[in-house]
Amino acid sequence: MSMVEVLKVTNLKMWYFLEDGSKVRAVDGVTFTVFRGKTLGIVGESGSGKSSLAMTLIRILPLNAKIVEGSIEIATDKGFVDIVKLNESELRSKIRWKYISVIPQGAMNALNPFMKIGDQIVEAILLHENISKKEALERAKNILKYVGIDPSRLDSYPHELSGGQRQRAVIAMALATYPRVIVADEPTTALDVITQAQVIKLLKELQKKFNFGLIFITHDLSLIAQIADYVAVMYAGKIVEYGPLEKLFKEPLHPYTRALLEAIPRLYGEKRRLRGIPGTPPDLRSPPPGCRFHPRCPYADDICKKEEPQLKSVGDGRLVACHLVG
C-alpha cells in the first residue's frame, strides 16, 4: 500500500513579536509530512515550540504571533491547499475543522459548559457542512457511539460527564466532520494513567476506522512509543531528528534524542542510575549560535558552536540535524 500524503509542512516559521522589539522564534524552519491513517508523534520539552506548532497548523494564534515563512499544505477534495495563504474567512469556512481539526491541550475544559454535548457537536458539523440538522444530529449520535459514549448523553452538559468521558466528547467533536488530519496537543496530560490508556487506545481504533492522519504532540516519549508510526523530536523550535518509531527508539542518532531516552526509567528495565541532561533549554529570543543543543551536548565540537546543522537524510527514512552524525 502506498503512503498517501495528507499534510505537507515545509520550512515553517512562526515567531512571536514582543513589545520590546524582540522576537521569540518558537517554530523556526520545520518540515514534515503526515500520511493518511498514520500517526506522527512530535515530542519536545517545554519551550521546544511544540504547542506553538500545533496552533500554527490550524492558525489559531495570538495577535503578536506571525507565520513568517513556509507553507502548510493540506489535502482537500480540490488538491493541496496552502493554509498559510488563505485569509481567515476562507480558512474558517473551507478548511479548518472540515479538513484539519484539533484536540486542544487541556481538552477537558475545551467544552462549552453551558451547552449540551449534542448541541456542541451538531453545531460543529453544521458550521462546516451543508446538511440538515436532522442528519447532523444522527451523525452526532453515531460519533458518540464510536468514541464510547452512550448516545443518550447527547442531552448531558459537560459537568455531568466524568473526566474521561469529557475527553471522549472532545475527540468526538474533532472527529465530527471526518477531517483528514487531527492535531492532538497533549490530549491526555490531565488524565489518570488508566483513563489515559483508554484514550490512547480509542484514538488508535478511530484512526483505523476513519483513516485520518494524526499529529500527536506530547512531552512524554512513552506515549509516543504507544501511538506513533513516525516521530519528530523538537528542540528549541526545530526538528532535530525524524524517523520511523522503531528505528528512532532503538537506535537514536541525535545526542538529544539519545539523552532523552536515557533519562527515562523503563518499567521492566535494569535499575541503573538515570542520566539527566545538564542545563536548561535555551531562551528562544536569543538561541545559541550554531546547533541549539550544543551548550548541553556532551559531544559538541567547534563546528557545532558556529554552524547550524541542517536536517539531512541518513537513509532508512531517517533525518538528523547533527554535524557529528552521518
Partner: protein
C-alpha cells in the same frame, strides 16, 4: 462516628509483618483520615457525611528505605503523606516514629508538640512554583527553618549553613543564589531549593509528594539522582508518593498501592511490578505507557473509567465494582492484606 469498627480487617500474618518489623522507622497503624462534609454551622441531628480519604492504612517505612506509594489522583496518597507529616488532622489510628530511642505517636501530638517534632519529618511538594514564597529570597526560604527552631541566629552562621546546603543540592556557586527570588530560577532549580529547605534541619523522614512530575523530562533524572545521593549522605528515609509506577519501582525498595484510600497491595518493588497480585495493580501496570516498544497498551483489565466516590465506600472490596474478576464474596466482605510471598501482601480474595 464509629471508629471502633475496622474498615479493613487485619490478618494475623500482616499484623505480625508490621509489628515485628525490626527496621521500622515509621509504623503507620490503622491510619484513618476522614473529612466531614459540613457547610457553615451545622446544628441538625442529621448524620454528617465524610470524605473517606484514608481508610485504616497499616504499614511500615524502614530506616533508610525509599517506600513508594502509588495510586491515581483521588486515591488518598497525598492525604496519607500529609497525615504522616501531621499537616492534616488524623481521624484515628497512629503514626509511630522512632526518634532518639523512643517512639513518638505523631497522630497524638498536640499543636505545641507538632511544632517541636515537625523538624524530623519534612515534606517536598509537587509544585516548585507554588511551594516557595515568591516574596522571599532564596537565602530566607532555606534559612526559615533555622530561625523557627532557633538553631542559628547570627547572620554569618545562617549564611554559612544555607550556603553549605545550597552546595549540597548542587546550586553552585551558592552565593549566586542567595539573593535571588524563586521566579528567577528554573523549575529544576526551584525544586532544589525546596529540597534544601526540607533537609537543612536534618530530618529523619522526608515525604516527597510527586517531586518530579511537574518538571521537564530532561531534568527529572537529575532531581531523582540528587534525592538518592542526599539519602545516603544524610541517612534519610523517604516516603515517595507518585502516580508513576516506573519511577516508583526505580527508586523504591518497596511499593504500596493505594486505591480509594485502602492499601490494596504492598511488597518488594520488583515483586509488585513483575508479579502484581491485585487486579487493580495489574490494570495500573497494563495502563502505564513506557518507552519499551515491546510493551504496548492493549486492553486494560478494568471496568469503567472512574473510581467510586470516597463518600459512600463499596460494602465489600473497594475495587470490586471495577474488577473484572469479582465474585459474590467480593461484594460482601472486605479482604485483609494476606501474604502471598516473602515481602509481598495483597488485599484480594482471589489474588492473581
Amino acid at each position: 462516628m464509629s471508629v471502633e469498627k475496622p474498615l479493613q480487617p487485619l490478618s494475623p500474618e500482616y499484623e505480625e509483618y508490621v509489628n515485628k518489623d525490626s527496621e521500622a522507622l515509621v509504623r503507620v497503624i490503622k491510619l484513618r483520615v476522614w473529612y466531614p462534609l459540613v457547610r457553615g454551622i451545622v446544628i441538625s441531628k442529621k448524620k454528617v457525611k465524610y470524605v473517606k480519604a484514608v481508610n485504616d492504612v497499616t504499614f511500615t517505612i524502614r530506616q533508610g528505605e525509599i517506600f513508594s506509594l502509588v495510586g491515581e489522583s483521588g486515591c488518598g496518597k497525598t492525604t496519607l503523606g500529609k497525615a504522616i507529616a501531621r499537616l492534616v488532622p488524623v481521624t484515628s489510628g497512629s503514626v509511630m516514629i522512632y526518634l532518639d530511642g523512643k517512639e513518638v505517636d505523631f497522630a497524638r501530638l498536640n499543636e505545641k508538640e507538632v511544632r517541636m517534632y515537625r523538624r524530623y519529618v519534612q515534606v517536598i511538594f509537587q509544585d516548585p512554583y507554588g511551594s516557595l514564597n515568591p516574596r522571599l529570597k532564596i537565602r530566607d526560604i532555606v534559612a526559615e527553618p533555622l530561625y523557627v527552631y532557633g538553631i542559628a541566629k547570627k547572620k554569618e552562621d545562617v549564611d554559612r549553613l544555607v550556603m553549605k546546603m545550597l552546595e549540597q543540592v548542587q546550586l553552585t556557586p551558592p552565593q549566586d543564589f542567595l539573593d535571588r527570588y524563586p521566579h528567577e530560577l528554573s523549575g529544576g532549580q526551584r525544586q532544589r531549593v525546596a529540597i534544601a529547605r526540607a533537609l537543612i534541619l536534618r530530618p529523619r523522614l522526608v515525604v516527597a509528594d510527586e517531586p518530579i512530575s511537574m518538571l521537564d523530562v530532561s531534568l527529572r533524572a537529575d532531581i531523582l539522582n540528587l534525592m538518592m545521593d542526599l539519602k545516603d549522605q544524610f541517612n534519610l528515609t523517604y516516603l515517595y508518593i507518585t502516580h508513576d509506577i516506573a519511577t516508583a519501582r526505580y527508586v523504591g525498595n518497596r511499593i504500596g498501592v493505594l486505591y480509594l484510600g485502602f492499601l490494596v497491595e504492598i511488597g518488594d518493588s520488583d515483586k509488585v511490578v513483575f508479579n502484581p497480585a491485585h487486579p487493580y495493580t495489574r490494570a495500573l501496570i497494563a495502563a502505564v505507557p513506557t518507552v519499551d516498544l515491546e510493551k504496548k497498551i492493549t486492553d486494560i483489565p478494568i471496568k469503567g473509567d472512574v473510581p467510586p466516590n470516597p463518600i459512600n465506600l463499596p460494602e465489600g472490596c473497594p475495587f470490586y465494582p471495577r474488577c473484572i474478576y469479582a465474585r459474590d464474596r467480593c461484594a460482601k466482605e472486605r479482604p485483609p492484606l494476606i501474604k502471598i510471598d516473602e515481602e509481598h501482601f495483597v488485599a484480594c480474595w482471589y489474588p492473581l
